[in-house]
Amino acid sequence: MARFIIRRLLQMVVVVFVLSLMLFFWLRSLPGGTVSAILGERATPQTRAALTKALGLDQPVWVQYWRFVERAAHGEFGTSTRVLPGADALDIFLSRLPATIELSFFALLLAVVLAIPLGYLSARRAGSPLDSGLVVTSLVGVAVPVFFLAFLLKYQLAVEHHVFPVSGRQDNLSCTRVTNFFVLDGLLTREYDCSVSALKHLVLPSLALATIPFAVIYRITRASVLEVLGEDYVRTAESKGLTARVIRGRHVLRNALLPVVTTIGLQTGGLLAGAVLTEKVFNWGGIGNALADAFEGRDYAVLQVLILAAAMIYVVINLLVDISYAVIDPRVRTR
């Protein structure tokens, strides 16, 4: 097991290294770039040349890459040029991460809370109209473009009926920041109105982001429960005359939930992609939003760090999922 984990970690290092290389060369092969993003219409040949030189962008790409690696070795991952000029790119990532985690957490929570009971229900009544209806509904959720759904939610619940706020993470209550997890911060500092405001802001984006994980978790739950219901030990339990509740709790759910738990883990990584769109629509100050900003302003340093860090999170989550696979299911061998 330990060897397996070490090997995977080593692989991760390789993956991240290759990715950083690709990313670096790719970004610099893009036309335009930082200089033109900063100067805009005002660019003159002189200012353009001066800025290119000052930013070191006139050097050959491999020289730039070598410098990047050197600095990275010292824990400096570059300086933002547009998202928050002058700030360290890693700082930007760290300060934006809580927003994305908060959003993803609530989206996942919502998905799980809805998907597992409904998936179980579907499986128990497999083939019923309720089941078919739920299956189709979950698929509709997947078929609706996230940004369109987000807009509909916003329009109906925030603009037409002022049930939830339109965008952002919190009203301007001059809340004290501790962790940048706004809900948690409010609890810690006892500024409960801050937490409430943050929660209200969370509802719509979480809902929009939850559709895809909901569909996936729902379907896995359904399939998994269906499978377990057909297993011999459940039939045995039934024939032993155990009460339905005991069967459900001890036999069906416990066994059916294993793949579900794994799926939930996997969805965490997948949420990042959806977050780009959701955060944009709801003006949510997280990683996805920073990515879009950095891209528009050709903020190379921030782009690099955000993508690399996102990839690393992804890889680590996968590793954890694989480990949990191995732990839960001894049939999976770690060779």
């Binding site: 036309p31 770039g33 930082t34 033109s36 100067l39 805009g40 219409e41 005002r42 660019a43 003159t44 040949p45 002189q46 200012t47 001066a50 000052a54 930013l55 730039q64 410098r67 990047f68 600095r71 400096e76 570059g78 300086t79 040029t81 547009r82 928050l84 000029p85 002058g86 700030a87 700082d91 760290l94 300060s95 991460l97 809580p98 807009f151 925030a158 706020p165 339109v166 965008s167 919190q170 209550l173 001059s174 809340c175 004290t176 920041r177 501790v178 962790t179 940048n180 706004f182 948690l184 810690l188 500092t189 006892r190 944009k280 709801f282 003006n283 100050g285 900003d293 190379y300 340093a301």
Partner: protein, 556 residues
């Protein structure tokens, strides 16, 4: 720049351990205690982007200036609602006879928001500070480079020469040549007066190039200037900038005590926030929303157009364009009238020259080329350019006040050009993804869409920007016989001290550009707007988008 951020995990654990003791609420219970009046004490305005920093010398974009304008003032200011200068920290000024030495009489009894006195020494400190930028600071001080040229290590190229404090209330600034731009440019936000004490303490000039970006000193996040407001906080996590009234301000205190800029990049979201009542106004509403916003009771203020959209032509890339008849044919072929009425907001107009009417030197006698496809065909025939092909470019991922939807404008003109037999090759690139480089540095297109919004009221800021630099301009006028004349005439006109004489010179140049040179086709002037809810009063829209918010009230 050191940002006040906490290591989330460590603090989270610490805070969780001592739930109460460690993480005390830091805020004062200030929100609306003594609310006896019928106005709110907070104004929330939707900004389209995040500010870069708060030291305007190193700032480059409008979203930053929107904030710094509230906390910093310069020697000269902008008269609300116009593009004209008015006294601000200097009460009056006069040039020497040769126009090379300017004496500024300063407003008395003014203090920076940290209590430092504002006097002639402070003025000279600021001028010298800007002039003496070193290393990365020079590159970061982009507006200085653009308007003043070089720095103290290369005095030859600098417009600024020296500054002398004659007495506490009189500062004399010497320049190296006469230009219509000086002292007008001192009204630009970048050249605001900042507290010498704070600049010194905050190590304000310490800009360093570090790994493809610049790091800025602490001062850039803790600015000290003179203005109705001062910076309270920039909550990057919640995307809000909060300003509070500056108690040391010499003028009337702001009518609304707290000013909040909520950063909302997406336009639709800004409108939704306004309709939901969570912001009181926002800048640059989409023209298609104006009617709907008004119908909902909001107040859409249309600024006078202070910009120009043009179709640039590059005769070096496509030699057929060297023939005046071909360029005129293009002007006749474009149905600018239809484009303006169907795509630009009310108040937009077809352009007859490369600058808007408000600028002195505008030639009122010029008429735009009318839409006349037959004439265009005939001219093309005469020039032997029937069926010529033209690479015509537009930018994506961008919307500018003068060009709300480049793709649509481009599509309309492409049809017009094809209708007179020109074969159009469509090209598009992202605005920040090579478009500007291709237009300027690479000269990659035969024809392209671009425009300009004026910084201040001077013809040189328009015409000079386009055609003064013979070698480096986008229109490649250097390959045309008249290119050199135009460049020299523009420089000469800019140096004329007498205003009327200067205006006459520019009027003549405008006429020649339209009739004899036609280096590109001026398309339109388009007014940007500003929207506020019905509760907001007292906001004066500025053609330079240089609004100040201290006169604004928000009803409860």
């Amino acid at each position: 720049m050191t940002l006040k951020r906490t290591a989330p995990l460590v603090l989270m654990t610490a805070a969780a351990l001592s739930m109460t003791a460690c993480a005390q609420s830091e805020r004062d219970s200030g929100d609306g205690g003594g609310g006896s009046s019928d106005v709110k004490d907070t104004l929330t305005f939707g900004a389209a982007g995040a500010p870069e920093l708060f030291d305007p010398l190193y700032a480059t974009d409008g979203e930053t200036f929107r904030v710094t304008r509230q906390i910093h003032q310069g020697l000269l200011g902008i008269k609300p609602g116009t593009a004209d200068v008015q006294p601000e920290l200097a009460e009056s000024w006069e040039p020497s006879d040769d126009g090379l030495s300017w004496t500024f009489h300063l407003r008395q009894g003014v203090k920076f928001s940290d209590g430092t006195d504002f006097d002639a020494d402070a003025v000279c400190y600021n001028m010298e500070r800007m002039y003496n930028q070193k290393g990365a600071g020079q590159t970061a001080a982009e507006y200085w480079t653009y308007f003043f040229g070089t720095f103290s290590d290369d005095p030859e190229g600098s417009l600024y020469k020296s500054c002398e404090a004659k007495d506490a209330d009189t500062a004399v600034i010497d320049v190296t040549r006469t230009t219509s731009s000086f002292p007008t440019i001192l009204s630009l936000d970048s050249f605001s007066m900042q507290s010498p004490t704070a600049l010194e303490e905050g190590d304000a000039n310490n800009v360093q190039a570090q790994g493809e970006g610049f790091t800025y000193p602490e001062y850039s996040m803790n600015p000290v200037g003179i203005g109705p407001y001062k910076l309270d906080s920039y909550d990057e996590a919640n995307k809000t900038v909060t300003l509070v009234a500056n108690d040391d301000y010499y003028g009337d205190p702001p009518k609304t005590k707290t000013l909040v800029f909520k950063i909302i990049p997406d336009e639709t979201t800004r409108r939704q926030e306004l309709e939901a009542g969570s912001i009181d106004g926002y800048d640059l509403p989409n023209p298609v929303d104006w009617q709907g916003l008004e119908d909902d009771g909001n107040n859409v203020q249309v600024r006078p157009a202070f910009n120009v959209l043009y179709l640039g032509l590059n005769p070096e890339k496509n030699p057929k364009l060297k023939d005046l008849r071909v360029r005129q044919a293009i002007a006749y072929a474009l149905n600018r009238e239809q484009m303006v009425t169907s795509q630009l907001p009310e108040g937009a107009s077809v352009a007859s020259q490369f600058m808007p009417e408000a600028v002195s030197g505008y030639n009122k006698d010029l008429e735009p080329y009318p839409y006349d496809p037959d004439k265009a065909k005939q001219l093309l025939k005469e020039a032997g350019a029937e069926g010529m092909s033209l690479t015509f470019a537009f930018p994506t991922e961008v919307s500018r006040p003068y060009m709300p939807d480049p793709q649509k404008i481009h599509a309309a003109f492409t049809k017009d050009l094809e209708a007179v037999g020109i074969k159009v090759k469509e090209v598009s690139k992202p605005w920040n993804g090579g478009y500007l480089d291709d237009v300027s540095a690479n000269g990659a297109y035969d024809a392209w869409l671009l425009g300009w919004t004026g910084d201040y009221n001077a013809a040189d800021n328009f015409l000079g920007t386009f055609f003064s630099d013979l070698k480096g301009n986008d229109f490649h006028t250097s390959v045309m016989p008249w290119g050199k004349t135009l460049s020299e005439d523009l420089k000469a006109a800019d140096a004329i001290v007498d205003e009327d004489e200067r205006a006459a010179a520019y009027e003549d140049i405008n006429k020649r550009i339209a009739e004899e040179y036609l280096p590109g086709i001026p398309i339109s002037h388009s007014p940007p707007a500003l929207v506020t809810s019905e509760k907001v009063e007292g906001l004066v829209a500025s053609p330079l988008t240089a609004e100040t918010f201290d006169t604004v009230t928000v009803a409860k």
